[in-house]
C-alpha cells in the first residue's frame, strides 16, 4: 500500500469508529485531528525528527482501532501492578474497572479513567485535553486525538500533595487481530501540588498490536510532577508515544522512561519552560536484543530565563538491536541563564548492534550553560576481569556491569515499590525473560 492508501484506510476506519468514541463534546476536535493526520500522513525519515526511525512497516501493518479481541486473564499481568498506588487498568484500549483500584483521595483530587472523565462537560478539561500537546508537526498526536478512547486523567488541586503514586497500566493481550490502541494521559498539577504518575505498558507475545500513546502534563507554579514510564510491550508490538509537558514558574518535572519491549518504539518527551525558575530532569533508556529498535527523542524548550534541564540516557544493545537518542535543547532569545546538561551513553554487547546519538542544541541566547556528551562502547574488559578474578562467573559479572550502567538513569530514586517496578524490568531483561 502507498502512504496515501494507508492514510485513507485509517480515515475510513475513523468514520466507522467516531460515533462510538466517548465525549460527544470532543467530536469537533476529533474531526479536526483526523483531518490534520490525513494532511500530514505518517512521519517519514525525510523529516529530520524521524531520520533514524522508519515507520514504514508500521504504516503498512493495517492496525485497526476497531479490531475486536477477547479479554485476557489479568492474573497473568498482576505482577505489573505497583503496590501502594491508586491504579487504573486499561485492557485492549478500554478501562477495566475490576482490575482498577482507587482509594480515598484528598479533596480536590481527581483520578479517573479518561472515558469517564470526558463524559461530563468540564471547562477545566476542555481547556487542557488535547490542548497541551500540539498537533502541528506531530501527526501521531493528531491520530491519537482522533481515536483516543481511554487512559488516565489526574487533577490535583492547589497545595495538595498526593499521598500515593497513581499508576496506569496498559495491557494488550488476547487475540491475533492487529489492534491499534490510542491511550491518553492527562495530568494537571495545581500550584504547590505534588504527584507521581507511573505509566506501564505491556502486551501478550502472541498479540500483534500498535500502541500510540499521548501524555499531556501541566505542572503549575512551584508544583512537582514525577513521571515514570515502563515500556514492557510484547517484542512483536509497535509503540509510539509522546509526552508533552508545560512548566509554570518554579515548577519541577522529572521523567524516567525505560524501554525493554516492542519491536519498534519511539518515546518522545517534550518539555516547554513557560515560567522562570522551572527545572526538569529527563532520564531514560532501553535494554534491547534481537532486532528491536528503540528511539528516545527529547526537546527541552527553554523559552524564559533562569530555567534548567538535565538529560541522562543509557542504552544497552545486544544482538542486532538499535537505539536512537535525539536530545533536543532549545534556548530561545529571552532564555538567559539557562542551565542545561545532557549525557547519552550506549553499551554495545554485540558487533551487530548499533547506536545513533544526535545531540541537537539550538541556542539563541548568550548567557547560558549547555553541556552535552555522548559515548558508544562495549563492556569494559578490565572491569570484567576484575569481577571474574574475585570468583564471579562471567554472566553474573556482565549483569552487574549492565545493571550499574543502566542504573545511572534511576540513581537517587528512593528504595520502594516504584523503584522495584523499574528494577524488575531490568532484571527480567537480563534473565532473558519477558
Amino acid at each position: 500500500m502507498t502512504q496515501n492508501e494507508n492514510t485513507a484506510r485509517i480515515v475510513e476506519s475513523f468514520e466507522q469508529a467516531k460515533n462510538g468514541l466517548p465525549g460527544g463534546w470532543l467530536a469537533g476536535a476529533r474531526d479536526g485531528a483526523i483531518h490534520n493526520f490525513a494532511e500530514a500522513g505518517f512521519p517519514t525519515p525525510r523529516t529530520e525528527a524521524w531520520k533514524y526511525t522508519n515507520l514504514n512497516r508500521l504504516a503498512r501493518a493495517e492496525f485497526d482501532p476497531l479490531a475486536d479481541i477477547s479479554l485476557p486473564d489479568l492474573n497473568d499481568w498482576s505482577a505489573l501492578f505497583v503496590e501502594g498506588c491508586d491504579r487504573i487498568v486499561i485492557v485492549n484500549g478500554r478501562f477495566d474497572a475490576g482490575a482498577s483500584a482507587i482509594g480515598d483521595l484528598p479533596d480536590g483530587v481527581t483520578v479517573s479513567p479518561l472515558s469517564a472523565a470526558v463524559e461530563e462537560i468540564d471547562p477545566a478539561l476542555e481547556k487542557d485535553l488535547a490542548q497541551i500537546a500540539p498537533e502541528d508537526g506531530a501527526p501521531l498526536v493528531a491520530l491519537n486525538t482522533a481515536f483516543m478512547r481511554d487512559g488516565l486523567v489526574v487533577r490535583v488541586a492547589n497545595g495538595v500533595v498526593l499521598p500515593r503514586p497513581v499508576q496506569v497500566v496498559h495491557i494488550v493481550d488476547g487475540g491475533t487481530a492487529a489492534i491499534a490502541v490510542h491511550p491518553r494521559t492527562l495530568v494537571i498539577a495545581g500550584e504547590n501540588s505534588a504527584v507521581t504518575v507511573i505509566e506501564t505498558f505491556a502486551g501478550g507475545a502472541d498479540t500483534s498490536y500498535w500502541t500510540n500513546a499521548v501524555s499531556e502534563i501541566r505542572v503549575g507554579r512551584n508544583a512537582s510532577v514525577s513521571h515514570i514510564k515502563r515500556q514492557s510491550e510484547s517484542v512483536s508490538a509497535y509503540h509510539t508515544a509522546l509526552t508533552q509537558v508545560r512548566l509554570d514558574r518554579d515548577a519541577r518535572f522529572s521523567s524516567l522512561a525505560l524501554a525493554v519491549g516492542a519491536l519498534l518504539s519511539r518515546n518522545e518527551v517534550n518539555v516547554a519552560f513557560e515560567g522562570e525558575g522551572a527545572a526538569c530532569t529527563l532520564a531514560g533508556g532501553a535494554l534491547l536484543r534481537g532486532r528491536q529498535h528503540a528511539d528516545s527523542t527529547t526537546v527541552a524548550d527553554h523559552g524564559v530565563p533562569h530555567t534548567s534541564s538535565s538529560q541522562i540516557f543509557r542504552n544497552v544493545l545486544d544482538d542486532n538491536s538499535r537505539s536512537v537518542f535525539q536530545g533536543g535543547v532549545i534556548v530561545r532569545p529571552d532564555a538567559q541563564k539557562t542551565d542545561s546538561a545532557q549525557s547519552n551513553r550506549n553499551l554495545l554487547l554485540s558487533a551487530g548492534a548499533q547506536a545513533d546519538s544526535k545531540p541537537e542544541l539550538q541556542i539563541f541566547a548568550d548567557d547560558v550553560k549547555c553541556a552535552h556528551g555522548a559515548t558508544v562502547g562495549d563492556l569494559d574488559e578490565a572491569a570484567m576481569f576484575y569481577l571474574e578474578s574475585r570468583g564471579i562467573p562471567p554472566h553474573q559479572a556482565k549483569s552487574l556491569l549492565i545493571g550499574a550502567f543502566v542504573g545511572e538513569i534511576f540513581d537517587g530514586m528512593p528504595e520502594g515499590a516504584v523503584r522495584a517496578h523499574i528494577e524488575t524490568a531490568v532484571a527480567d531483561w537480563m534473565s532473558g525473560a519477558k
Binding site: D380, E381, A382, A383, F385, Y386, L387, E388, S389, R390, G391, I392, P393, P394, Q396, A397, L400, L401, G403, A404, F405, G407, E408, D411
Partner: protein, 256 residues
C-alpha cells in the same frame, strides 16, 4: 608436595614473548617474593596465573594443588583459591563495594560447596574482616574503588583477600604508590592473613615491602626469566647493590 608448581612457562602478549621459561615451586604456607625491574614480566606472571585474557601461554604448565590451572577460567581459579591483589585496582562505578563483595563471596562459597551467607551474616563477616584493614564503613558502601585514594584502593584489595580466604595470594606491587603509614596498614593486614595453609607470591619493585612482609624465598626476574633465587637476604643484596649485580639495567633505580 608442591602447592603451586610452574614449569617452563612461556607467555606471549600480542605476539611478543614476555615470559621466557619460568620455573617456580611454592610449598604450602610459603611466601615467595618476586623482584625485578620495570618490564621484566612481573605483572604478566600475576595475570597469567589469574587467567586474564590476552596472555597466551605458548609453552609450559601450571598446577595448583594438583589441578591444571591454565585450563581454568578466572572465576574458577578464584574458587580454587587463587587470588590476585591488583597493582591497579579497577574502578567500577554503580556497583557498591558491599554488593560486589557479597556477590563474590557467595559465588566462591557456592563453588566450594558451602552455603551462601545471608545479608546479616555477610555484613557481620565484612565488618569483622574490615577491622583488620581499618576499613571505614563508608568505604564499604561506596562504588568499588571509585573515589578511593591510592592507599584505600590497596587496602580494599587486601580486604577482599581477607573476605575470599584464598590459599594462594598474589600481591602485585601492592606497595607501589603507598606512603609509609598506608604501607604499614596494608602489610600488617597481609601479615594477619598469613596462615599455614596460605601461600603468597609478593611481587614488588622495592625491598621496602619485604621489611614488613618477610618472605621465605626471593626470586629476581629479568627479561622474562628468573636470574637469581635465594633466601630473604637476597632482597638485602638487591637493596645494597641494585640490579646491576645481576647484569640488569634498571632505569627506575630499584634501590630507591
Amino acid at each position: 608436595m608442591s602447592f603451586l608448581s610452574v614449569k617452563d612457562l612461556h607467555v606471549s602478549v600480542g605476539g611478543k614473548e614476555i615470559l621466557r621459561g619460568i620455573d617456580l615451586e611454592i610449598g604450602e604456607g610459603e611466601i615467595h617474593a618476586v623482584m625485578g625491574p620495570n618490564g621484566s614480566g612481573k605483572s604478566t606472571l600475576s595475570y597469567v596465573l589469574s587467567g586474564r585474557e590476552g596472555y597466551d601461554v605458548t609453552k609450559g604448565e601450571v598446577s595448583f594443588k594438583g589441578q591444571d590451572v591454565l585450563g581454568m577460567a578466572p572465576h574458577e581459579r578464584a574458587a580454587a583459591g587463587i587470588y590476585l591483589a591488583f597493582q591497579y585496582p579497577v574502578e567500577i562505578p554503580g556497583v557498591s563495594n558491599l554488593t560486589f563483595l557479597k556477590t563474590a563471596v557467595n559465588a566462591v562459597r557456592v563453588a566450594r560447596g558451602e552455603e551462601e551467607l545471608d545479608a546479616l551474616n555477610f555484613l557481620k563477616f565484612a565488618r569483622e574482616k574490615g577491622n583488620i584493614l581499618e576499613m571505614k564503613d563508608e568505604l564499604l558502601k561506596r562504588p568499588v574503588n571509585v573515589g578511593f585514594s591510592g592507599g584505600e584502593k590497596k587496602r580494599n584489595e587486601i580486604f577482599q583477600m581477607a573476605m575470599l580466604e584464598p590459599t594462594l595470594a598474589i600481591l602485585d606491587e601492592t606497595d607501589s604508590g603507598l606512603d609509609i603509614d598506608a604501607l604499614r596498614i596494608v602489610s600488617e593486614g597481609v601479615n594477619k592473613l598469613r596462615a599455614p595453609d596460605r601461600s603468597m607470591i609478593v611481587i614488588t619493585h622495592y625491598q621496602r615491602l619485604l621489611d614488613h612482609i618477610v618472605p621465605d624465598y626471593v626470586h629476581v626476574l629479568a627479561k622474562g626469566r628468573f636470574v637469581a633465587s635465594g633466601g630473604k637476604e637476597l632482597a638485602h643484596e638487591l637493596e645494597k647493590d641494585g640490579y646491576a649485580k645481576f647484569g640488569i639495567e634498571d632505569d627506575a633505580s630499584a634501590a630507591a
